[in-house]
Amino acid sequence: MIRRRFLHALIGAYSLFALLPLFWMFYSSFKSNAEISQTPLSLPHSFDFRVFVDSWRVGGVGKYALNSVIATTASTVLVLVTASMAGFALSRLRFPGSRAVFLLFTLGLLLPIQSYFIMQNQEFDYLNLKDTRWALIIPYTAMGIPLAIWLIKSYIDSLPKELFEAARIDGSSDIQTYRFLMFPIIRPALVTVGIFSALGAWNEFLLALLYVQDESLKTIPTGLLSFSSKYATDYRMLFAALTMVTVPMIALYVGFNRQIVAGITQGAVKG
């Protein structure tokens, strides 16, 4: 009993340590700049939500969020579609070169981004892809594909063979089997892949920093960084911006925490 109370106190304190910085960020956006610098710890006296409107509209947080939504949605949908097609073919169909194709994708699980981003930068520069939406959608899709194929292929491998044999005997073509039979039954694998690639795209920084200089196309990580240098001394604007990009994510996370934690840990452990 005493032991349990002690553990609760210990972990409770650590949880507080995990949340305190976020709490400080949140309430500081209601304080004036003078209050923030003179009494950093004090709580706000009043709640004025206009600062959120300002940083969303004037500061451009809304624009960055929209760009992040576009890049994340487009790349995640592309990963899900292309990887489920290829994963299905690699798992269930026999064709010449299938082993080589699978090995090629396995190589992608091993290659860190450092091993190719310099030349990718040159390639995108040469093809005038930089400062377009494709500059992020293409690499985010390509980086998500190897793990996605791996997860989807092993999921289909674990399904009973008869399922697919039956469809084939009924005369359905491979593409029909993919669309009408497989897509619905691999949903659990798609959820994991989707969560993992969406978060990867949402949080990606290095490529976004190199490929997008245009303010109107920046995503949340790079946009927030330029916001933080533009409003370096306007602390409350900075805290408001930080709050606005974190609170929706935390809300989303609390709502779907089971799936999200499973998606992230499974993706990381299997990759």
């Binding site: 609760h8 910085p21 030349m119 005369g171 990381a268």
Partner: protein, 292 residues
């Protein structure tokens, strides 16, 4: 019964192969090729042979990036993996632990840049709360310009990393601990073993495989670290927090040394792969199969 058609296979496989080769495989081959050339990004490149590689090995700043990243990896193994394991052990032994599991994972969800900007504010010497908390506790002599001091900057970064990822490893270990069969643990408990010795002598050996994956993720992830370093210190002060990736990005995108930067990137990638390979070998040789 319909046979597999060539066209069907092509339609299914081609999109993934094309996007992936275009954005990963081709640039990867190109980076290897570029690492043997001298090129400033304009004009025609000249052959350098192994020149870039020998220059990298004698570059004292580049070499120092490896000791910084080694310190970072050791620190994060303790602050993330070990702490995560301890937290998971505590949490899995409590009945009402949902709040802790959710709270500790919150930082993992957020973009690293957002976290870095927030912690830059926390460390700030004018309005940051860290110095303010120290002052309110009467510990003014421990106040620091955390990110601007060569003695504290690297440790400050390790600390932030621990703040984020201890929850991540906690989640991995909690999932593994909850999957363990209960009969072995029950019988140990009936034999009169204490909770602590059940945890260290039975549970930890049983989740060995998960632990080794966690260590591997921590090492390879650490070697690739960029976001926190770039935003918090950008390698400063005086290159004391310079890591391979920040240095590589500077040599290419600030100094325009494309060939040299590529050689650095190949060295770092090979180092990462070699470490993962050696770690796996070592794991295989020392693995003791636990029966359950």
């Amino acid at each position: 019964m319909k046979p597999t058609s060539r066209l069907g296979v092509f339609i299914l496989v081609a999109p993934a192969v094309l996007i992936y080769c275009f954005a990963v495989i081709l640039p990867f081959i190109g980076t290897i090729a570029l690492s043997f050339l001298r090129w400033n990004g304009f004009g025609s490149p000249t052959w350098a042979g192994l020149g870039n590689y020998s220059r990298a090995l004698s570059d004292s700043i580049f070499r120092s990036t490896f000791s910084h990243v080694a310190i970072y990896i050791v620190a994060t193994l303790i602050l993330e993996v070990l702490l995560g394991l301890a937290l998971a052990g505590f949490i899995s032994s409590l009945k009402h632990s949902a709040f802790y599991r959710i709270a500790l994972f919150v930082p993992v969800m957020l973009p690293m840049v957002v976290i870095a900007v927030l912690w830059r504010a926390i460390f700030n010497s004018d309005y940051g709360i860290l110095n303010a908390i120290l002052a309110s506790l009467g510990l003014t002599k421990f106040q620091h310009i955390w990110l601007g001091d060569t003695k504290t900057a690297l440790f400050a970064i390790c600390f932030v990393s621990g703040w984020v990822f201890s929850g991540f490893y906690m989640a991995i270990f909690t999932a593994a601990l909850n999957r363990l069969p209960t009969d072995v643990i029950e019988s140990a408990r009936l034999d009169g073993s204490g909770e602590m010795s059940i945890f260290t002598k039975i549970k930890i050996p049983m989740i060995r495989q998960v632990t080794s994956v966690a260590i591997l993720i921590c090492i390879t992830g650490g070697l690739q670290g960029f976001d926190l370093f770039y935003v918090l210190t950008d390698g400063g002060p005086y290159h004391t927090t310079e890591v391979p990736t920040t240095f590589m990005v500077k040599s290419v995108f600030r100094d325009g040394e494309f060939g040299y930067g590529s050689a650095l990137s190949i060295i770092v990638s090979v180092a990462g792969l070699a470490m993962a390979y050696l770690f796996n070998l070592w794991q295989k040789r020392t693995r003791v199969d636990v029966e359950y």
